[in-house]
Subunit: 440 residues, 2 copies
Amino acid sequence: MTKIKGFSKLNKEARVDWVISNYLQDPKKSLRLLKSYWHSDDDVQKLHDEFVENTITNFFMPFGVAPNFLINGKDYCLPLVTEESSVVAAMSKAARFWSERGGFHSQVISTIKTGHVHFLWHGKEKELLSHFFEKIKPLFFSQTEHLTKNMVARGGGIVDVLLVDRSHLEPGYYQLKATFETCDSMGANFINSLLEEFIRIFLAEAEKSLDLIPNKIEIIMGILSNYTPDCLVRCEATCPVSYLPHDKNISSAQFAAKFLKAIRIAEIEPYRAVTHNKGIMNGVDALVIATGNDFRAIEAGVHAFAAKTGTYSSLSHAEINDDNFRFYMDIPLALGTIGGLTTLHPMAKFSLQLLGKPDARTLMMIIAAAGVSQNFSAIRSLITTGIQKGHMKMHLLNILNQLGASDLEKEKIIALFKNKVPSHSAVVKAFEEMKEGMQP
Amino acid sequence: MTKIKGFSKLNKEARVDWVISNYLQDPKKSLRLLKSYWHSDDDVQKLHDEFVENTITNFFMPFGVAPNFLINGKDYCLPLVTEESSVVAAMSKAARFWSERGGFHSQVISTIKTGHVHFLWHGKEKELLSHFFEKIKPLFFSQTEHLTKNMVARGGGIVDVLLVDRSHLEPGYYQLKATFETCDSMGANFINSLLEEFIRIFLAEAEKSLDLIPNKIEIIMGILSNYTPDCLVRCEATCPVSYLPHDKNISSAQFAAKFLKAIRIAEIEPYRAVTHNKGIMNGVDALVIATGNDFRAIEAGVHAFAAKTGTYSSLSHAEINDDNFRFYMDIPLALGTIGGLTTLHPMAKFSLQLLGKPDARTLMMIIAAAGVSQNFSAIRSLITTGIQKGHMKMHLLNILNQLGASDLEKEKIIALFKNKVPSHSAVVKAFEEMKEGMQP
């Protein structure tokens, strides 16, 4: 066992050295590789190194852009960080299509975030607990002003603190359920700091009020929730049915009918809903990452929201009213445009500049449109040519890169697979045959 | 409106030029920034540029490592790509802790993936459809051998194809539900290519068999599912209760009891479950990205799995039997160690080398352990010191970087906040005061 104590206290060079000498077959080559991914400016690299612990280098994620997005009447070029081929192309295609049909229309429905103090209390007279809570409730506001002052000045703060009885689920289980408005910051640190302060206040007051609350309060934990159904944005795109895509194989009306069926299937079949929503998140996450937000938080909240009825279902919906096609989605997005990495990561900062320095509400509306655009393109492909045609084109390029093909070789092979499925083995075979044919 | 046609056909320089001249206030500065993030080797940069469309630069994600992971008796140093502070530290701490208590024990439960052809059929005699399906079913295997040959040689291929009646949910809605074993590849292209071939076979046979199947089959789409409850891995960690953490504030037995309560709360309260599982995904995704896998696919499948009972719930569980503490988790992970970016992205390739070139099953077991380790550390913090203590230490460093603090200034401010909550405003104030104090 290659154990080490105090690894995190080593400097970066020593960390790299330990890793490559213990785990890599060719340490010199590995060292060159890791270093080749460092930023050429030492100060910039140091900044990146300090974002997290035990860093040894950077992982490059492709940074692409999708122009022609018309959202609420304003045009955008979206910064997209994704490693998956076809996503940027699909979004760009949908953006262009909808920009000629009025664009995307987004509106913020609500921006409330939630956190809890989870605790146990085994008293039998529940009124004692609720009376005690009502008595001390103002203190959660007054005794935390040093933490909320700045947020209040920006228009946010603690919205409410409630006592929730969950003892029917688990003996003695109650919550302080607190709601917050965190304005342009994602608010995780703000909320968690407040919740820990609530714990301190709650316990101190209970200690002082043994006449009011004789049974002991046992705190389990205080933590924000990434389930944010009340931090919600809606986006829709709408046009006359006759303006929908059509070609020699499918009329606009047939396209509309088939599109609605595809959505309906994602609404009723969880196996399909998961992939349908995964596609939406291809678009959403690409912007979440580009702007320095936390995609795990967004993912968890979104998928739980998709399961809120008890059956995991589609986030997006479609309908036809009076020959008008309407495609829409509600999605919970708790985002920040200040704090965290948003202004600290130079490329996240760049992304926000590219988007015109939006506030958090505007970013919610932009990202919802990104999700809708991806979903429209995915369904469009699925119900017409199939998903593989576009995907395989990029896949082909990746295989050719893997094989070390030259530009000329790439061109030839791409022409060869113009109307064929480029399975990995078929491409390798074609490439090898071409190579052999080229030999003297 | 800044519209553009043919943007994707521009070369990278022209793309960059269009973006910065149309959207950025200081195009020259932006150009320098974007270029500073390019890889110094043009060929390597070209490889990264071609992973997706419309690339203009790279987004750096910190690449850290967590040593001291003991998984199934073998030691690992995990490659972790994450932008969130505390994640790598939390995992390293748990790894060290469990390495002295037998480590993590993972086992693959199943590795089956699923895809569907979704179609409509409005015939009244359902037996006609099932008879027709049974008759042509062998063709789905025999007529796709050109696509499955290599996978079969590796021990995988099509497992089964079933006809599923979903017409009770939507009139005329049926599925071909196909299951696959894709060995060491994630299998998305393999499965999607096969499903599109199934559509071709299905329609061609229906055309030829109007006596058997008089009503028209209307294909809506063919697509793999990212819901993979049958591609499942279990990981657990176990030790005597007395070996659990303890200090002057909490005994091992109290720790165990409180830990179980924290897990129980995540099992019954969706607001908590979402954040609990989000933490697990902090660990999971860090490895998923590092190894070139698709985190949106993993996220979607995992969260839908967490909602499978109808109530969104904790992925992990804990119990005490005969004074033995057991902490375990089942998680669906459809991963690849060949194909896609896994071997194409130089840093993904490095990650797999660092892990000893695992096959897909081994990678499932490693990543499950990563999730369990993160979850253990998160709950440990939550039920003892609170989550903010560790988080805020890293947060403080980020704020200081944002303020452009020197190493000396950082040291002084860190000492100042040793026992205080470093709220953003408090740090800014302290920093400014220090600066003023330093002026002559």
